[in-house]
Symmetry: C3
Subunit: 262 residues, 3 copies
Amino acid sequence: VGPLITLTTDFGTRDSYVAELKGCLLSEGPPGLRMVDLSHELTPFDLFGAAWFLRAAVPRFPAGTVHLAVVDPGVGSARTPLMVRLGQQVLVGPDNGIFGLLYDGREEVFAIDSKSLSERPLSSTFHGRDLFAPIAARLADGGRCEDHGHALSRYERLPWLPLVASEDGIVGQVVHIDRYGNLVTNLEPAQLVALGAPAELDFQIKGATIRGLRDHYAQVARGELIALVSSSGLVELAQREGSAAARLGVERGSPVRVTKRS
Amino acid sequence: VGPLITLTTDFGTRDSYVAELKGCLLSEGPPGLRMVDLSHELTPFDLFGAAWFLRAAVPRFPAGTVHLAVVDPGVGSARTPLMVRLGQQVLVGPDNGIFGLLYDGREEVFAIDSKSLSERPLSSTFHGRDLFAPIAARLADGGRCEDHGHALSRYERLPWLPLVASEDGIVGQVVHIDRYGNLVTNLEPAQLVALGAPAELDFQIKGATIRGLRDHYAQVARGELIALVSSSGLVELAQREGSAAARLGVERGSPVRVTKRS
Amino acid sequence: VGPLITLTTDFGTRDSYVAELKGCLLSEGPPGLRMVDLSHELTPFDLFGAAWFLRAAVPRFPAGTVHLAVVDPGVGSARTPLMVRLGQQVLVGPDNGIFGLLYDGREEVFAIDSKSLSERPLSSTFHGRDLFAPIAARLADGGRCEDHGHALSRYERLPWLPLVASEDGIVGQVVHIDRYGNLVTNLEPAQLVALGAPAELDFQIKGATIRGLRDHYAQVARGELIALVSSSGLVELAQREGSAAARLGVERGSPVRVTKRS
């Protein structure tokens, strides 16, 4: 059975960049390599969005998977190229925070030593193809992080977005807006227990109030707003079969206030 | 050789949903599993569009393929999760009509028994990841539908869109608008034989009249409208190297009148 | 280890066309076939764009790869269906120039003999599915070009876009605009050496002047314009973490004038 490499980028697929990555992986990786596209549609240069994506996706994959992730506005500058060992998986990409939401204190982080790819030409603008993909190919072929770099103790972290206690409740924020216009927040249901029972909670966002924390979309009529627990385990504000983001004019970072109904 | 699972969703790839599905399939499926992306760009919540897509795609695949299809506005509600045995292939997804255009009287339909995945947590908002993918993984691993559910005799069907006979011809409709702006209709060429020879037919849509049923786009000049037999075997109205949909302002459901030229 | 077929089209994935291709390849190809999506988001009918894409992607792939490429506005007309042997790889697609930028004098070009697929129905509108995919499947299964067609000496070429010498420098043009809005030109750095050292060159485009040829984006501040060597080896004009194309209002074909700073 061939080893697995996943690909996550902000390259889109109109250009040849993803195709060039794949060609390199197949040319330099082990026979039978299986490549899995996770996304090439991440927002260009959006490091938090990439970190958020990887936080949800990576834990779902089996032991031995190599994840190649390239959102890299600083390509060619001094930012360090990384390998990260996380449980039984390995991540490869730039040290700019994109892996930050996966760090749990058990990660082992390595700086790639580009000399370990001695004879290759290294462009200044496409490390995905010329550095990260060749390293990912070697790791998928049984190489160890220690063979291609050295341990690193200082690297970019990404702090989780804290909640704020207000006079009568808790204020969180929208951390992700999905394709459907659903608003995923940084509110964990367990953090709301002290405020009241799920049915007693009010969620206020951009002048709208959503009553109660529900289980699934079909509990309200089409077109109505609803608060429920998203598939990520966090509170999500949604419009059934519509876009809450468009309806409310919300952006990432918009505050969400939770109170107990009085 | 690894078994095949295809993926068809309305998730897009900007969010982590497809990636989470893939991680689950690889974690729970057989070694060497091959995943094939069919589409993640189906229109959100568009059940007819999904059914239309699957109608064209599924019959092209080899025996043994498992098709995972998730367009699921009713997730978490009472709609039944399905397995469908269709010839030598199996479909997995919600019972909301998305498989309806594939039913030919020989389908065997099963309700998934979620207890067959006993210890797994089941979210209320993402059955694709928590229910359909694990079932698809088991079916790809040699599991039988009978092992994971029970036969079902009542399930959502999707009636084919009928043609209407008019005084001087036949009225059909646009059932799909493709990326190029080509208009695929529900008119079958065999149904038009009684009206006249292909060259004698007139197709009227939104005030425009297209003369004759042709073979291929290059039979008219660039920018001209043409009626021809699409790759699905149905009549298609198109503009050569342009968008008939944009030019005519047509939507799905727009009527198409066929008459014999007088 | 299964053979490799790559897919490059302008089909998008909203429609079933790519899925139908994949089904055919898996049904007719060798066991263990690995399919690799390069792009389905090429601009519809844009032959130069497709040729540009393939020029960058194809050389990255390993020996034995079969590349299926379908951008085919002339489908059904007299344009010849092709197989091209290029080093150890094979290309399959229409003879309309999409392979033109890969030809280096060593290519061996064959016209597909559709009778080699004797019993298959051949639609007039979807040769990707009915002709090119079955041929690609046979080539991936060890078939030889000679088994499915005959050598061709006249076929569509695509001339490289020449530079123009002006009184005080060189005039090139924008040949590709990528997802980020970066402007890739037909200027090769070696051609500019006679004009002056990299730091002495001025690039003029749409009234803007960009000073010097740099190495990587981070050498200028966010939002500033920069000229550098792109990952393709050609000169690229970019805005750091922004879109030069949007800022300058540039299209493919826009002239770029290079002079030595006086």
